[in-house]
């Protein structure tokens, strides 16, 4: 495994709070994030998997992962406000996405909510230490947005479950150790009832992973086939009929809190775009014209509104309020605003003068990738149409009746 030389965690960060905590996190990130990881740097070179694992493990040791998880399971036992502060600092730097976000932001919180004590002790530290990378086995060919159509089956005999079926759009399955599999224990007619969750080892006999080449030319998501895969009862998460309902409650909060750094990363991208434009004589002139002042101003307002969604949701959670389906609002706003911004970056950078300035080349490389990735943002984690449906059904509670 690649070793990333990082400074040891800041001494006694456990005692820090508020601004002192922010400063400590900022200082550590800026001192330790390798230039080659920074997509706004000329030295950028996408990290290899071992490099990503080493970096994320170092982030965890520095207090930047598992922030609100209990210390008994390897977490740092901090508050949601500190989670917000850390994410603001993470977002402010052009850092690669986590290779284990499913472990940290989906599987982990679900295990915390429905897992047994043994499962919490076994799975959670392994996620934070990056020994186990997780992927998400929810979607299927016949069950994309509509998980009630799920066909993968789990049948039990004694302490052994047998899983048969197929998952698709499973991001990162080729590099994962565990898959959070949603499978049906009852008949298809049960729809949302009879769904159970399992922590399936991807090296288990009968698991086959087939990568799919995607929009960015890379093989990021996969099909995963399960052919009579044996899973021990100790790897079943929650009771068969209750697990999914519990997971839904967790996911409701998760949708509002996961990838909390997004608003600040968005701001980092906007600042990078403007800085790159100002290094080019033609673009510098363009961004000083009223047309682009207004267009960039609109992006600033979008980002401020996004921050407002995130910060007020954190306040609500800290005050013990139920936030219900509010996460759908932030996700919907972010994904659409980010797509508008991504299109603007292409439009601006296409007008650069020749020969291309080095800073413009760096920006083009970053923003062309962001533009393509952004097209997925209105699809994954619940499409725009699904989010609008959730808002109409659950927040507005509009009548569907005749």
């Amino acid at each position: 495994m690649t070793v990333i030389e990082t400074e040891p965690p800041v001494a006694a960060t456990g005692d820090l709070s508020g601004e002192a905590y922010r400063v400590a996190m900022r200082r550590w990130l800026r001192a330790n994030l390798p230039a080659s990881f920074r997509s706004d740097s000329a030295a950028f070179s996408p990290p290899t998997l071992p490099q990503s694992i080493a970096w994320e493990a170092a982030m965890y040791r520095a207090g930047l992962a598992g922030i609100i998880w209990p210390q008994a399971y390897g977490g740092h036992g901090r508050t949601l406000r500190e989670h917000l502060i850390a994410n603001q600092e993470i977002g402010a730097l052009a850092m690669p996405e986590s290779v284990n976000s499913i472990g940290k932001e989906l599987a982990g919180p679900i295990i915390l909510a429905v897992g047994t004590e043994e499962q919490k002790r076994r799975f959670l530290p392994a996620i934070l230490e990056m020994r186990d990378i997780w992927c998400q086995g929810f979607s299927e060919p016949e069950a994309g947005s509509d998980l009630a159509g799920l066909r993968t089956r789990a049948t039990r005999s004694g302490d052994i479950w047998r899983i048969n079926g197929q998952k698709i759009w499973t991001s990162g399955a080729y590099r994962a150790q565990r898959c959070l599999v949603l499978a049906r224990t009852g008949p298809l007619e049960d729809r949302h009832r009879g769904l159970a969750m399992f922590a399936v080892r991807l090296d288990a006999k009968g698991v086959r992973v087939r990568p799919i080449k995607s929009i960015d030319g890379r093989e990021s998501f996969c099909e995963v086939f399960f052919d009579d895969v044996e899973v021990l009862q100790s790897d079943a998460l929650g009771a068969p009929d209750e697990g999914w309902a519990a997971a839904i409650r967790v996911l409701e909060i998760e949708r509002a809190t996961n990838r909390m750094y997004r608003a600040w990363r968005f701001e980092n991208e906007l600042r990078h775009l403007i800085a790159a434009c100002k290094s080019d004589p033609v673009l510098a002139q363009l961004v000083a014209e009223r047309h682009y002042e207004v267009r960039l101003g609109e992006v600033v307002v979008d980002i401020e509104v996004l921050k407002a969604h995130v910060e007020t949701a954190v306040d609500a959670l800290v005050n013990g309020d139920r936030i219900g389906a509010r996460g759908s609002l932030a996700k919907l706003h972010w994904s659409e605003a980010h797509q508008r911004f991504a299109a603007l970056t292409l439009e601006l950078l296409a007008q650069a003068s020749l020969p291309l300035q080095p800073a413009v080349q760096v920006a083009r490389r970053r923003f062309e990738a962001i533009y393509l990735q952004a097209r997925a943002e209105t699809i994954y984690a619940g499409t725009t149409e699904i989010q609008l449906g959730i808002i109409a059904d659950r927040i507005l509670q509009l009548s569907k009746g005749k």
């Binding site: 290094s279 101003g297 600033v300 007020t312 800073a359």
Partner: protein, 344 residues
Amino acid sequence: MTLTGEGLQPSEFAVTAARAVADCADLSLREQARHLANDGLLGVIAAHDVGGLDLPLALAVPVVAAAGAGLLGFPLMEALLLGRALQESLPRTAEAVVSGEMLATIAWQGSVSAAREGDSVVLNGWVARAACTREADCLLVRIGTSGAALVSTNSNGIVVEDAAGLDLAVPEHAVRMEGVTIPAANILPENTWSVLCSDANVLRAAAILGSAETCLTLAQEHASTRRQFGRALSYNQAIRHALARQKLGLEGIRHAITRSVGDEAGALQRDAAFLAAGVYGSAISEGALQIHGGMGFTWDVPVHRHLRRVRALQAQGDASGVLAALGRRYVGAIAPASDVTASR
């Protein structure tokens, strides 16, 4: 309930304000002023010395939102801001505004020139977007690029033009000033004016929030009860998604306002709240009009009156100019990229 005590919650302000606004429906402007003052609503942010409650701007937000929701035909935002802006230099006037004895307004567009003559200042120029000036006792006008002047509307040389603007309940006036002489003491410093403008952006956003919330409620109600093709309109996904987008916008306004009055908020957050309110508020009220169909154009349904108000507030706060200036400041504050690392 009358707002006089300490420790009041925003929700209490909202309830008191909503009731007071409803009571104002058939009253003259002066009666409204006294009525609102009696409930403590004109002095929410003004100092105790001038009869105010001396509370932070955040607590004026539910009051102005309730006024927006109820289509109050009174320049409430102006009274709130002037009660505080005048409390240092013209405390008696501030007190009269807070107590509802004096009707005061602000010209949000244009500026006048000011020439000092002994203890007096002579003003010349054009201002506009001044709510209810025809009936107001005094008017705050911008001087050139620094400071503002409080002018008595019965001064010689003042000509109030006919009402104009989309909002019929709160008509806006343009005012011509030809050699209007005022005491030098009526000049307010630049800082007072800039704070007032910045706070006005938050309160405009609050007024738009009230209007937008009402429009969405009306649209939702109409979509649930109006039947076409044998079903409620809300059965249709096109209608459901349209309403969901309106809700997204509404919560965006609400949270942006909350953020703009937070401890760490500055000019950027206040401008953003106003700009977001203008964009989403227009979309929500226009969307509500669309969902109401022909009914939305009648005087029986208040949706178009909210739309008129939202658009008037957006123009009054010079949303386009504020947006361009925000973009200019943001771009201007960022250094060109070196070829090693860029942002921050």
